[in-house]
Amino acid sequence: MISYILRRVAYAFPILIGVNIITFVLFFVVNTPDDMARMQLGMKRVSDVTITNWKEERGYDKPILWNKDSESIKKITDTIFFQNSVKLFVFDFGRSDSGRDIGHDISQRMWPSLAITVPSLILGLLSYISFGLILAFFRGTYVDVSGVILCVIMMSISGLFYIIGGQYLIGKFLHLVPISGYDTGLHAVKFTILPIFIGLIGGIGVSTRWYRTIFLEEMGKDYVRTAKAKGLSETRVLYQHVLMNGLIPILTGVVVILPSLFMGSLIVESFFAIPGLGSYTIDAISRQDFAIVRSMVFLGSVLYIIGLILTDISYTLVDPRVGLN
């Protein structure tokens, strides 16, 4: 098992190098540091001196790949590629274009993100699985048909509508909870209720329909017929056999997004003014802070790849038919 995990981790490295090269090319070769400086300082009427200063402050004045003025090992290390891209591998994110320590910001901001995403995931799984199971139980009846129609309608509504409508209805009209903002410690709870609830509503359509399909597929299998032929009741078959086997694809589908929960949700966080990593990214995009966007791209990729590895491992744990090779 350990050698299997090690092999999977070894496979992940070339992918991370690929991601790193793509982001490097996007941020330093397609657009040179000169372009970035001009963008940040204002498009025209920028003197060359200010641009040089800007680049010097951020270390973007070095050669891109090969520093021929330096000595020995510094020929490679004293370059933009090494300083800004290779260092990401040890999670040294450096400083943002506005001068803040990105690593410190990330460690601060991941907690509010987790406070939203983790409860959303748990509550979502519980409710969507129950809804899916109910629809599958009543398959072919009016409950099922109207449930599916409701799902299709709900998945056709823009997610922005749920957020804007929910904010207006609950926060402003009913005055139950604050519309947006965040607080430390336990006070945070009243700020997280609304985003979690709205996220839950927004996901119902897609997830319930998908889980219903999984359960229906499971119900059509031979072992279910055998269980019924043995004389087991419909509910017992549903809870003991269908639910347990249906959970395999659902849970392995969830494992892949587990690490990405750190990243938070871009839209939800920026609408509800939650100081998590999602709004951090959005702010960086709108301020055109390339250093932060670059770090977040890398971090997101690492977390996704960890998710992929965890998925493979969880398959081998849950399903004995999947071998370790």
């Binding site: 992918i15 372009d35 001009r38 823009s158 839209i267 995009i285």
Partner: protein, 466 residues
């Protein structure tokens, strides 16, 4: 003088491809049967009618030209530098009739109190009359409700008569093609006895015609969906946004399709190192969070446009380039799913007897892929195209909200929502821009979802067997 934007050209190529496909599919039983199954589903055909209406609006909006200027000399004609489309001509009234600022749907007075000069020279703060909305009324406070009811009624009568004529025409055509008398065809329609869902289609056409005629009749005298901050008609904006939504949904797929199909086929057929390289490529691209890749690319495009601002003749051209670029980036982030599906299916298919036989006969690899494998993968491609469409339309709104979507100068539902978001804090709230964008988007996405469900059910062999 016609102007062809890149996206216009691509969209007409797409239309051409759809027509070629229709001609191609007519001759093959294995394609005709599933499409016939789609045509027999009432919900799917109603959705198809709605989609067709959206597509017609989008296509009208894709024919761009420089309008002719009325010149004093008759010999030489000059053209305006402005770019307009056929849709702009149709909706000219809506476009031109702008108010000063916000006004509620069907209102005759402005939304907020304004300072107005009285004839006596004094100034008062009052709700000013609108320039166009309800301008024909002498005393809007008393008459407006009765007038609106009257206009709705007239629109209803027009709509009913047009839809009556159109339905009878459809029934007439049906009676000719089925070689039965008109009355029999009419009875069959009433009892819903045709295998193809004609009844549902006629009902949908009638309902849309009636509502369109009511809205048209009202829009001649009022702002049906109100006006926005700069006084532009919201209905006009919402209709103009149709093109953007459709383009994002369809062009993205068009852009990524060749890559996904080629890569998927090659990975599955050749296996070995080609498979490894392609798998590596899509895993790498997939591992970059989609939104971030889009954000990074759009940032870079902005830098590029900023540095090369002289290369663009007009704002429209710049917005068009950004739209195309967005489609390409969305394509890059979304081709991996299709590629993976195609690879898995090709891996299965290459072991099938007829492929083995073709190999034994010495048929080249490329013709095996094109003649024997590709046609058997088309159902996956078809299902992916229709399922992706609605997701992409919704994604546009979200991306425009974070300012990494289409150009802010472009009409799009995302930009409408983005612009109206701040107005939720007003008291009383300005809700009509948001509502219009959400409703137009909802109708399109719902229709696309219903239609794609039917297409999937008809083409997916796993579902068809049950």
């Amino acid at each position: 003088m016609p102007v062809i934007f890149i996206t216009d050209a691509l969209i007409f190529i797409l239309v051409l491809m759809v027509f070629t496909y229709v001609f191609y599919a007519r001759h093959y039983e294995h394609l005709r049967t599933p499409w016939h199954a789609v045509a027999c589903r009432p919900l799917a055909m109603s959705a198809a009618i709605i989609l067709v209406i959206y597509i017609v609006v989008g296509l009208l909006d894709s024919v761009h030209f420089h309008p002719k200027l009325e010149s004093t000399k008759s010999s030489d004609t000059t053209y305006s530098t402005e770019v307009t489309s056929l849709l702009d001509l149709v909706l000219d009234d809506l476009n031109k009739n702008t108010e000063r600022t916000y006004s509620a749907p069907l209102a005759s007075y402005s939304f907020a109190k304004e300072m107005t000069d009285l004839s006596s020279g004094k100034q008062i703060r009052a709700y000013a009359r609108l320039k166009y909305g309800g301008a024909h009324l002498d005393n809007p406070e008393l008459d407006s409700l009765a007038d609106i009811t009257k206009k709705i009624f007239i629109g209803l009568v027009y709509g009913l008569s047009v839809s009556f004529v159109l339905s009878s025409f459809i029934i007439f055509i049906l009676s000719k093609t089925h070689k039965i008398r008109f009355k029999q065809a009419f009875n069959k329609i009433c009892k819903n006895e045709f295998p193809v869902a004609w009844t549902a289609m006629i009902i949908t056409i009638s309902i849309t015609l009636i509502s369109m005629s009511i809205i048209y009749n009202l829009s001649q005298y009022y702002h049906v969906l109100g006006t926005d901050k700069v006084g532009q008609d919201v209905l006009f904006q919402a209709i103009k946004s149709v093109r953007t939504g459709l383009l994002i949904g369809s062009l993205t797929t068009l852009v990524m399709l060749p890559f996904a199909v080629m890569m998927g086929l090659m990975a599955g057929y050749f296996r070995g190192w080609i498979d490894d390289v392609i798998q590596y490529l899509y895993t790498t691209l997939n591992s970059i969070p989609g939104v971030l890749l889009i954000a990074a690319s759009i940032l870079l495009l902005q830098v590029y446009i900023g540095n090369h601002s002289d290369d663009f003749n007009s704002i429209e051209e710049r917005a068009d380039l950004r739209l195309l670029f967005l489609c390409v980036i969305l394509g890059i982030t979304s081709w991996t799913g299709l590629c993976r599906l195609l690879r898995a299916e090709t891996l299965k298919l290459r072991e099938v007897d007829y492929v083995k036989a073709a190999q034994a006969f010495g048929v080249g690899n490329i013709s095996i892929m094109l003649r024997h494998l590709l046609p058997n993968l088309m159902h996956i491609v078809m299902i992916t195209i229709v399922i992706d469409f609605s997701g992409l339309v919704l994604a546009e709104a979200v991306l425009s909200y974070i300012n990494i979507g289409v150009d802010p100068s472009m009409n799009s539902w995302g930009n409408m929502i983005n612009g109206a978001r701040m107005e939720m804090a007003r008291e009383p709230i300005v809700w009509w821009s948001l509502a219009a964008a959400f409703v137009f988007m909802f109708v399109l996405v719902l229709a696309a979802n219903l239609f794609s469900d039917a297409v999937r059910d008809a083409f997916d062999p796993r579902i068809r067997q049950q």
